[in-house]
């Protein structure tokens, strides 16, 4: 069985982003980009299933510009077998469009399991997996912290507000990863070299017949109200006095 893992190229999690002063967005010129951390977890999970003999092929897919090919190479270097780039130079591809494009890729690839990240750390939307599941009419298990593949079904433990919950999904199914599912491996140098030779196919929204135009207009992007540093106090008693003064005790 095949596993498909959509991976997104995002600003690296250690970058302190800057909002453009004219309110038109976030300055992405010359900032370090990486695979979305939740997607690394998704790739790792797929690879573990393959290594355990439960999957035959792991395919990574990314939607974005030529640069997203780098992110796909990262997935291939981790151990994925093949990659598909849905190439678009659009500045913004919204989750609904991403889900439609993935649905079109899935029609050809026919995976039994699709593992996505629960959220991309740039837009923080937390939607794509759920939307994809809806469009395919497949069951979904979001925020996974444990995935156990059975015969024709998958048991997924989810991190929910009150604790943990386990669902059984009939395959084919959609899973989205949470932080504690696994610790993703780093690609070794030999594997990075090998990844350069692995197949990376290219397609486009036009070729897939999907209208990827955004539905939302971003009117402006601003910095949040800044919080100013307060005071460092000398003792516990001073702290208690300040908290009483502030009326929060």
């Amino acid at each position: 069985m095949k596993i498909l893992v959509p991976v997104k190229r995002v600003v690296d999690t250690n970058v302190k982003i800057r909002v453009k002063p004219d309110g038109t967005g976030v300055d992405l010129a010359n900032v370090k980009m990486s695979m979305n951390p939740f997607d690394e977890i998704a790739v790792e999970e797929a690879l573990r299933l393959k290594e355990a003999g439960k999957a035959t092929e792991v395919i990574v897919v990314s939607i974005g510009s030529d640069k997203s090919a780098e992110t796909l190479r990262t997935g291939l270097a981790m151990g994925a077998d093949r990659a598909v780039l849905v190439k678009t130079d659009a500045a913004r591809v919204e989750p609904l469009a991403v889900a439609k494009l993935l649905k079109a890729v899935i029609a050809t690839e026919q995976p039994s399991l699709v593992i996505l990240g629960k959220q991309a750390i740039d837009d923080d939307s937390n939607q794509t997996g759920q939307m994809l599941a809806a469009l395919l009419g497949w069951p979904q298990a979001t925020f996974a912290s444990k995935v156990v593949l059975g015969d024709g079904s998958v048991d997924v433990t989810r991190e929910v507000d009150g604790g943990l919950e386990t669902l059984r999904l009939q395959l084919p199914a959609i899973v989205t990863t949470d932080l504690r599912l696994n610790e993703p491996r780093y690609a070794s140098l030999p594997n990075i070299m090998k990844a350069k030779k692995k197949p990376l196919d290219e397609t486009s929204p036009e070729a897939l017949g999907v209208d990827a135009a955004p539905r939302l207009a971003v009117l402006k992007t601003v910095e949040p109200a800044a919080r100013t540093a307060g005071v460092k106090l000398g003792s516990v008693d001073e702290l208690v006095a300040k908290l009483k003064q502030a009326g929060v005790l």
């Binding site: 609904l96 959220q119 939307s125 507000d161 009939q170 949470d178 939302l216 540093a229 307060g230 106090l233």
Partner: protein, 311 residues
Amino acid sequence: MATLIIAEHNDAHLNDATAKTLTAALALGQPVDILVAGKQAKAAADAAAQLSGVRSVLLADGDSLAERRAEPLADLVLSLAGKYDAILAPATSTGKNVAPRVAALLDVMQISEITKVVAPDTFERPIYAGNAIETVQTSDKTLVATVRIAAFAAAATGGNAPVETIAAPADSGLSSFVGADLSVSDRPELASARVIVSGGRALGSADKFQEVIAPLADQLKAAIGASRAAVDAGYAANDLQVGQTGKVVAPELYIAIGISGAIQHLAGMKDSKVIVAINKDGDAPIFQVADYGLVDDLFTVVPALTKALAN
């Protein structure tokens, strides 16, 4: 037309997140109905009916809705969607799970975690772990949005809306519930607590976390939170993680203990009214957002603070 809210509740109790979502919904300026989907959820529906400003409560009660799995719940919402031009859910794990599924089936984009209603079609929402605030406008036929509950005050009670029972959807059998391991605690809920005491990696073990953090939380009648590092290390349960990828909170008082203040953590707590940081490293970034700081060893300061508060 009207606005539909997907209520957050556990059948017996209506979660505060619903009343907060109602505040956002009322700002849209249309009549608001609340959908309570569950099993034996009459109590939650009655509580929703008492919220002020609600036109009616729809109670869907049945086996398929017992755990509020995404597939049947989305089917139910979809069957009602024709009567609404806005559908809101709180950005809880249930809301975040189901709302995008509804949006996709309606062929509309979802707006995630709105923090402000600028106009009925225009909203503010944080991106990049709260380091930028985006104003977005939708032109979709139906608005589907999740509401960041820490950003809205709870609507008042005192209403008396009618409760109408509607049919629960059939179960497609695509998913089934296996079990749950839910935290039981007498403490206030993290998402709506007035005071939060939060511990980080510096606590060093689950035992120390309990030993140091719990007495202070008891003293303050506070909820307990944690950094991702503390949760990853097993010092605290996953549902206690505060941050970009955990819970977003805005209590009156947030006490960060042995937490460095990574941007992902700040994203979840920097809108708290008063922030206290206890960290032995005076250069830790947490001090850049803290109103009051103590640069000291937490293992001496926290017990001392607990004791001082007891007096």
